[in-house]
Amino acid sequence: MQYENEARVLFTSKSENERFARVFIAGFLTPLDLTISEMTEIKTAVSEAVTNAIIHGYEEKRGNVELFCAYRENKVYIEIADSGSGIENITLAREPLYTSKPEMERSGMGFTIMETFMDQIHIQSEEGKGTRIFMEKTFTKE
């Protein structure tokens, strides 16, 4: 698909970069004049997927996280990918309150937040290879 505008960034899986990812996406989407609510929802969904890559994908070890974002007409497209552990059971992982790391004070709400705030989410994952999250959101255009 030919996007109107797209950007891709690769960064180290350090928790400082969770904020960087949110600033990056917000900066990229600035020309779209999103509502504060839409912008916050997208930033939150990105933050969830990036945090998952760092905590679960790489288990806080060093790796690269990829963030791709694009838009066309009134739709935003986002992909977040890691080359970490992969997800064993995607159906289980998507369930609200499911977490594989309760001892780390995780609540198991990450995917639920992504699903609530974005229109569509698709998870591609292979054990030992990594995970790629695809998200889409239609925004209001006056």
Binding site: E41, T51, E105, G110, T116
Partner: protein, 119 residues
């Protein structure tokens, strides 16, 4: 993220400024735990008026504190959360455990065990 702590009766009021994510929630957790012990209080009010962002890491941190306080009969509440944070706390079910208030007075009445008017 910036934090400031004050004490009133048996409650510590924690004023949080900035963003709560996985990176900052660790510090928020240990600072809260040490203030709770140092000030020898029973309850916690998180003042979120200046919190501009919170994701599931904030939910985890709040549930963690809720569980710690529950075992000793302490109460915890959040005051002045913005619209999105309120939404997240509501659909995750968190606001049933940790009620949200518009004013510090209402939050204080709740944690100190007087009348309460949750949002």
């Amino acid at each position: 993220m910036e934090l400031s702590f004050s004490k009133k009766n048996k409650t510590v009021i924690i004023m949080v400024s900035g963003e709560i994510d996985h990176h900052t929630s660790k510090e928020l957790r240990w600072q809260t735990e040490s203030a709770y012990i140092d000030m020898s209080v029973k309850n916690i009010i998180f003042h979120f008026e200046n919190v501009t962002f919170m994701d599931s890491s904030g939910i985890g941190m709040l549930i963690g504190r809720y569980k710690q306080l529950q075992s000793i009969g302490g109460k915890i509440s959040v005051v002045s959360a913005n619209e999105k944070i309120t939404e997240i706390m509501q659909f995750s079910g968190l606001s049933k455990l940790i009620p949200l208030f518009d004013t510090i007075e209402d939050a204080f009445s709740y944690t100190e065990g007087r009348e309460h008017h949750a949002v």
